[in-house]
């Protein structure tokens, strides 16, 4: 137990859940907001911006990278991260389908 039973769900449900889980943490939301706002990519400035240890930030970046939401390129000693457009678009698509399926109707209860 303690293990999500992915095999009983559709790949779309699993995919959306995986992407959402990657975003469902305030630190990772903050990281993404930083990457977006400094539209040029950001590096380890994140450690200064947020109040988390360098190892923790690196771990969060790894999670975002693993699901493909961000991508990084090495620039000398530093690493430059940015949003991966295709995954971002996929997230918007899946979420749009999901959220849009609820047509705010007669709330029945």
């Amino acid at each position: 137990m303690g293990l999500t039973k992915t095999e009983i769900f559709t790949s779309e449900q699993n995919q959306l859940a995986t992407l959402l889980k990657a975003i469902a943490h305030p630190a990772r939301i903050a990281i993404l907001q930083q990457i977006i706002s400094t539209n040029a990519c950001i590096c380890g400035d994140l450690v200064d911006e947020l109040g988390l240890a360098q190892a923790t930030i690196s771990q969060h970046l790894k999670e975002l990278k693993n699901v493909g939401i961000i991508q990084g390129t090495i620039e000398g000693v530093k690493v430059c991260y940015c949003i991966a457009p295709s995954t971002w678009a996929m997230l918007e698509l899946l979420l749009g389908n999901f959220l849009g399926s609820y047509k705010n109707p007669k709330s029945c209860c």
Copy 2:
């Protein structure tokens, strides 16, 4: 450790993360889709529809209820669940702000 440092993030970041975390599981996505599609509310039919034990479904419903995404009313022996419109709207708003802030530009790396 092992405890998210919510105090260093904005309430908006924390709120969005909390809502997303509630949704970021395939079983809870499936539950919400069932509730939405049978626009009349659904009860413990969820146990038949999904392949999870009754205790597990009840636990997932509790999580969705705790963050206010669904609401339930007792109907005799059964319980009728439906989407809570205001929380759903809040989620759409916060997510729209967040996802919309990325303007798919010159992916810099």
